[in-house]
């Protein structure tokens, strides 16, 4: 049968908000689901309930035909019998054990030779072979993350749960490890749920995403679809970037990267680490609209298209366009009136190269 994770859970906090979350995740297509939302939205509550570390007050959790939790029937499968790999925000390595023993910690039922072989295999895969004899206190943040990942993967879990896997790192290490983490998750073949409040992380790591706001799940779908078409104003505010286009690197020139999104080419500043696939992100308020292609400007990107819809938001107007790729621009009401921005109107969208933010994707 198809592997799926479904949950519908309620957890109340004595002097805090109530988290009510329900979702259904098919785990076979696309390995990584991002659980995205601002801090305090209830993401970690959901993750802890999935792991079996906390017991929800009501509801059900089912995984691949097994019932992990059923509040009405009193079913609760403890974390030991869920076969789930956990990665904690600060990695929670056992400080009294060397790296090799940390990785082997969950392999108690294997024989000594098998255990050592498994540790060696994971150490090679995560390139931490030379660290096996060290203590966690002697490792850098990035090394700790790799060791924690190896430890979680060692017992061959059926599901990986990662809580803010990059937030304990400093910014340069984070950028470096994002792509690596994505590759590791993908090559492991284990479906993963990643909790994050960081847009770039969500875009770089996720195939699908679930948006949580104020203790409830507001939207679920493919990552760029959620970014491009938020279900409501709340989600739009949380995800922040209106235009997220799937793109491929076309060429590089003069420190800039030229990517191809559908039929159009976009010039952007090269973020580094870009191999082939990327998301090109443009905030709606960064797009300048013109009535028709005219005199040359300093903007590197000029996309011709046609208005397909508009929504008035107080003093601003949100204009949806088809420029070969769907684009959303945010302009003032006065500009919209002057240009006559109604469906069917031909327009040109100008975007400066630095406003096109590329998030590299691997795989």
């Amino acid at each position: 049968m198809e592997r799926a994770l479904t949950f519908d859970l309620v957890r109340r906090f004595p002097r805090g908000p109530t988290v009510r979350a329900r979702a259904e995740l098919a785990l076979d297509g696309g390995p990584v689901t991002v659980l995205f939302g601002p801090s305090g939205a209830g993401k970690t509550t959901v993750l802890r309930a999935l792991a079996g570390l906390d017991r929800p007050d009501e509801g059900t959790i089912r995984f691949a035909g097994e019932t992990w939790f059923d509040g009405a029937a009193g079913t609760f499968v403890p974390p030991q019998r869920r076969a789930v790999g956990l990665l904690f925000q600060d990695y929670a390595l056992f400080p009294h054990l060397r790296v090799g023993r940390n990785i082997a910690f969950g392999l108690g039922r294997l024989g000594r030779a098998e255990r050592e072989a498994r540790v060696a295999e994971l150490a090679a895969r995560l390139r931490i072979g030379e660290l096996l004899g060290r203590r966690p206190a002697e490792l850098s943040g990035g090394q700790r993350q790799r060791v924690a990942l190896a430890r979680a993967l060692a017992p061959s879990p059926r599901l990986l749960l990662l809580d803010e896997p990059l937030s304990a790192l400093d910014a340069p290490a984070r950028a470096e490890l994002r792509g690596e983490l994505r590759r590791t998750l993908e090559s492991s073949g284990v479906p993963a749920v990643v909790v994050t409040h960081d847009r770039v992380e969500a875009l770089a790591l996720g195939d699908r995403m679930i948006v949580m706001v104020d203790g409830a799940i507001r939207q679920a779908g493919r990552v760029h679809e959620v970014f491009s078409a938020p279900a409501d104003v709340e989600v739009a505010r949380v995800v922040g970037t209106e235009n997220v286009l799937e793109a491929r690197l076309a060429r590089r020139s003069e420190g800039l990267a030229v990517v191809r999104a559908g039929p159009v080419e976009l010039v952007a500043v090269d973020p580094g680490g870009l191999e082939d696939e990327a998301y090109a992100c443009i905030r709606a308020e960064e797009i300048v609209l013109e009535g028709a292609p005219g005199a040359p400007t300093s903007a590197q990107n000029l996309l011709s298209g046609v208005v397909v819809g508009r929504a008035d938001e107080g003093p601003l107007v949100r204009v949806r366009m088809d420029c070969g790729v769907p684009l959303v621009a945010l302009v003032t009401r006065a500009s919209a009136e002057r240009l006559g921005l109604f469906p069917g109107r031909a327009v040109a969208a100008l975007v400066k190269a630095p406003a096109v933010r590329l998030v590299p994707r691997t795989g």
Partner: protein, 224 residues
Amino acid sequence: MDEAALRLSLVLATLTTLLLLVLGLPLAHWLATSRLRWKFLVEAVVALPLVLPPTVLGFYLLFGLGPRSPLGRAWEAVVGHRFPFSFEGLVIASVLYSMPFAVQPFATAISAVDRRLVEASHGLGVSPLGTFFRVTLPLSWNGILAGAVLTFAHTLGEFGVVLMVGGNIAGETRTLSIAIFDHVEALEYGAANRTSALLLGLSFGVLVLVYALQRRPFFRWNER
């Protein structure tokens, strides 16, 4: 020198410490990790011997386990002799009397272990008992050792409970502190001084060991 009394005190202190490790560790673990609302009642009961006069504890033990009570008759049927004025009775009384000196440092040490490490172990499929021996104990051993040493020292020096429950039977219930009392009553100040000096040296040595083993303070009230 009261060799019999010294031997008896050492055996009593060792047995009490071992029993409190076996009984006190699960209790301390429960106190450190339970989120039950009524936990404070158990905490209060455990701390009771700290404030209660030893005579009160001794009196109720005699009352509850004496030959006239049902529990006392059951004790006699199982052990073969009466509870009061026996070595076994002394062990039971010492365990109860030293309970807070073991359980409180144990609980403090266990609660200082990062909960996420315990959760990580559970997530890796290791049972709660396995997690206790592979994660909690290795990370809290110095606090637990401190509690054990303190229990040993405290039992070595107890007097009131021993006198109430055990009386003063040479080789059976006559401990070092009782021996000192006897010497003073008999005006044998030289003998009392030798035994007292021994107890003083022993107690001081034990406390030096505790504080040397312990890098951080193990009393809660020393923590900032």
